[in-house]
Symmetry: C2
Subunit: 239 residues, 2 copies
């Protein structure tokens, strides 16, 4: 007995939420819009989510969870011993990660819109990353590949910033950039910058790498006037 829920409803709601939240941010996103994009009524939305915030958290937290598993560096004992192989492995890991980011770029761009009470989402994400990168740096320092005098937290901050900026550049790009080239070039620069004397990383040509001329490709819509209708006149006086 009883009617069975259309399994596509929930999924299209999540999809739509992803899209609208990414475009407008949490506050400015309207539940009606989400429902409309999903092709159902507002009532249906509230059958699947208690509040707008719950839907938001559902989308974001699910993404963060998937990120966490991906971020877990392969730090077991089956690591190659040769430095070159280690670097190669790291590069592949980077590429895989960025590939994932590209696939989920809509959700990723939501993270930037988390303000005020939801800043902790972005915060935990960063912390996760930072901790991870820091461990990687320490690993290489211990092995003597990176200089001993480096402050792992500082280096991790720089690395994280550089890579997250790369990710941002990717987000604002229409078509998928040459991730391998980008990440290889980045790794080269940091390898040379962090290497200890006895690390034999040679310089190589990466001139074929292309980056959007300037990442001005921000898909900024023509600034649709927000919320309420604009006022008629100017401020009354008082300068």
């Amino acid at each position: 007995m009883s009617r069975v829920a259309d399994p596509r409803t929930r999924i299209s709601l999540l999809r739509a939420a992803e899209e609208i939240f990414a475009k407008k941010g949490l506050e400015a996103a309207k539940v009606e819009d989400i429902a409309k994009v999903a092709g159902v009524s507002k009532g249906a939305f509230y059958l699947h989510f208690e509040t707008k915030e719950e839907a938001f958290l559902h989308v974001v937290e699910a993404f963060l969870a998937r990120c966490s598993t991906l971020l877990a560096q392969p730090c077991g004992d089956d690591l190659p011993t040769r430095l070159e192989d280690l670097m190669e492995l790291g590069l592949e890991h980077d590429i895989q990660l960025f590939e994932f980011f590209w696939q989920n770029r809509a959700i990723l761009s939501i993270l930037n819109t988390c303000n005020g009470p939801y800043a902790y989402l972005m915060g935990s994400f960063r912390k996760d990353l930072q901790e991870n990168v820091k461990r990687g740096v320490e690993f290489f320092v211990e092995r003597g590949a990176y200089r001993k005098d480096l402050e792992p937290n500082l280096v991790a901050t720089l690395l994280m910033g550089a890579y997250s900026e790369l990710a941002t550049a990717m987000l604002s790009s229409e078509k998928k950039p040459p991730l391998r080239d980008w990440l290889l070039a980045a790794r080269r620069i940091f390898s040379l910058g962090l290497a200890s004397d006895r690390s034999p990383w040679e310089r190589q040509d990466v001139s074929h790498v292309s980056l959007p001329d300037i990442p001005d490709a921000l898909p900024s819509e023509p600034a649709e006037r927000p919320r309420r209708a604009a006022r008629a006149g100017r401020a009354r006086t008082a300068r």
Copy 2:
């Protein structure tokens, strides 16, 4: 004749706007709160600004304008010729910039809260920076200090990301960090990473540099429940 406007009113309104916008973001900030913090009525606010958005733009754009002038690199002809001096000058410039950021950290943190139709603010800021950094890189490449095979846009992206992450770490710190140490360490790493063979930058100890253990010092208030009162029960059913 006529009453003269209390000159402190406008200023305290701007101050208050800065504070509230930084704390809540544009959407969640309430005009009443701004007025209350400024110690005037809501009506007074609307004597000085046409809309909430206008006040927001006023605060942000004024800051961006000041940034622009600071960002203009000293690329005249009175530049020193020795590479070491050039680096020293660049470092001083970095320090000055970060000092400015520290002084204006409240406004700076507003930029992150610009979403949707106001994303272009952050966008133009980044573009400005990127363009600037890129020119710097090209300058060093031309002089033979950096490798010729580097893609200036890619390098600029990495640099910008690294430094803006540093700035973020600074923002989430209670007391002013040792900017000179941070920036010196960063410059060392990138110098080594970008240098051409014939650049003679020696490695130096920077182990005394300290960075907050992990920048978890995000001043995230205990997640004050946003906007409307929460609902009582759970979502009705539908799984």
